[in-house]
Symmetry: C2
Subunit: 365 residues, 2 copies
């Protein structure tokens, strides 16, 4: 793409940081984060390395999800292969949004084909008091090592995104003990013990600053905060119980590194999420991209927003939807194409590739 030779696994060659930096900085993804003009609209896809890919399922037949996360060479392999296979404009490190809760003393497990389970959920202020302050993130060295190995193996001009769950989404898993439909325990703690709630959110936020900055230091060009479940909250609750914490994180990250701030079901929260911060606001398919962008303001970049289920329809349908979203972005600098949430397990790989190709072709200048 940029003419700079790629750093392949074959050669093991590592270019000097300065060389990387220029190519990466000029990549369509990084330019879009800064709302600069781009040769084509950059696209990457949440959960682009995952169960929908045969290679991934084969690996997972041999080791568990957490084992894969904790084996840097394999996490790097999965990350690089997915990006190469799809031809996307950014890689995202293979990891889980919840990894940061382990050093807090939370016991994290993933059942077969199920979501995360936490055996010692946090329900009371005493439980919050028992959580460990994350003074250092050394125990997450496997993530940083995976980032370093990925960075070394990725094309020199392909940005790598680091990430974590955002405080509310992490708190909801820690409190519910897994996924949830109604967030009864989470909101009950929030409503009945503000002190404990804010203590928990602050503890998570302090950990996230260290964790995300360490990912950046290890070689991530951008980071994403996934507040996947924040759409369960009212706008007033978001303002009171979430916004100050998210803002405190976003204002403490390494300057110059773009941050993507993402949530789903955020139709009533977009303005507040923008207020909390982020260079790019990720929106789901429920709100039209043009309306979302108008609401958050054109002085911030936007990411989205195809319904992941659209990838189950035929290629013509996918192309028509890509056209629609690109039209809504109106060629304005600062649009990163993505789904409104992660790729679903049964998604046909060829449809994902068709989407990437369609976005590149339709947006080429």
């Amino acid at each position: 793409m940029s003419g700079i030779p790629s750093i392949g696994k074959e050669t093991g060659l590592i270019l000097k940081p300065e060389s990387n930096t220029t190519a990466l900085d000029n990549s369509p993804f990084m330019r879009a984060c800064r709302r600069e003009s781009v040769p084509h609209t950059p696209i990457w896809l949440m959960r682009q390395a995952g169960r929908y890919m045969r290679e991934y399922r084969e690996l997972r037949a041999r080791l568990s999800f957490l084992e894969l996360c904790k084996t840097p060479s394999l996490a790097a392999e999965v990350t690089v292969n997915a990006a190469d296979r799809l031809g996307v404009d950014a890689a995202i490190i293979f990891a889980d949004i919840l990894l940061i809760v382990e050093p807090m003393g939370i016991e994290l497990a993933f059942g077969k084909g199920e979501g995360p389970t936490i055996h010692n959920p946090v329900r009371t202020s005493q439980d919050v008091d028992r959580l460990r302050e994350v003074d250092g993130v050394e125990s997450l060295e496997y993530v940083f090592e995976a980032i370093r190995q990925t960075r070394a193996a990725l094309s020199a001009d392909l940005p790598l995104i680091g990430f974590s769950g955002a405080p509310f989404t992490l708190a909801s898993y820690i409190i519910e003990g897994g996924g949830s439909r109604n967030y009864v325990h989470t909101k009950s703690l929030m409503y009945t013990d503000k002190g404990a709630w804010h203590a928990l959110m602050s503890l998570i936020s302090r950990a996230l600053v260290k964790y995300l900055n360490a990912q950046i230091f290890a070689g991530a060009q951008a980071v994403q905060l996934f507040d996947s479940w924040v759409g369960s909250l009212s706008a007033d609750d978001y303002r009171e119980y979430v916004l100050p914490h998210t803002r405190s994180i976003l204002s403490s990250l390494t300057p110059g590194t773009p941050v993507i701030h993402f949530g789903t079901g955020t139709g009533a929260l977009l303005e507040l999420m923008r207020e909390a911060g982020g260079d790019v606001i990720g929106v789901d398919w429920r709100v039209r991209l043009d309306e979302a962008w108008r609401r958050i303001g054109h002085d911030v970049a936007v990411m989205g927003n195809l319904d992941p289920v659209a990838l189950f329809a035929g290629k013509d349908y996918i192309r028509s939807q890509a056209t629609k979203i690109l039209e809504q972005a109106a060629g304005r600098p600062g649009h990163i194409f993505n789904l409104g949430h992660g790729i679903l397990p049964e998604t046909p790989v060829e449809n994902v590739i068709a989407l990437v190709d369609a976005v590149h072709e339709l947006s080429a200048k």
Copy 2:
């Protein structure tokens, strides 16, 4: 409340329809549906008869959910007892949003403590073709009989609400075979076979017109269309795949009977739901009530919008939230207080009563 003697189960006395009509028409609930002035803001609660009540759990220990729905005397008892116990301003017939799918040839079952399961889900246009047209709703006579018995037993001035699931929500259950997180099958049919999708939605809509009109004829003063899961759609998809069907139903119901049009997660859909129709638009807690009302227009009534989880917090918290919502309604005629979704199973009954009392007291003129 109105001075007209109530029709108790004790006396078995049935007043002439004309007497009922005046008292019912002047009830706070009916007046609010028409956006007329009220002595206090009327309140009722979705799923106000349900598992959170001991009496209900005792009944359910003896018979299944569907058996209860299909035994008019017991459905009526559950309906009346809940309304009396809570002191709410309307009763809602004890039934399920899915009952109308049985005469279409769908096999409906409810597992213990789980949601509905459909053993013969509709996935293809052939499946749609095999569905039975609901020419008459005689097989749902048990619902109409429950309405008649409830109407006879309820206070003469207490309105009774009939209801059903709305076409999209019904279609999603029929297609997925139960509840869903991502609606992959539903949206796939929608995106890949428009003809089959619209045929299914039309068939459901024709059935709903008959079903809801028969509920009104049996004695319901108002009806509610529950489009509980429509918030999973984008605004553009709603406009194309849902709105015409909902509009066709809402314009075919018995004139003079207020219709409540409800959904959750509808932050991006409110204007379109209003366009589809309904005298009252039900909104969940994600959008502030004042903002929702401004968006749908003050020439329509609004219902909502306390987070059901608020009922797990203390009475002071509940009162503060009721105050906030009433302030947002700003004393404007046409507000019906409700939760943003159904009462959750573990909700303390005394907190529900505290909410009803708080709304009555705080809004009394």
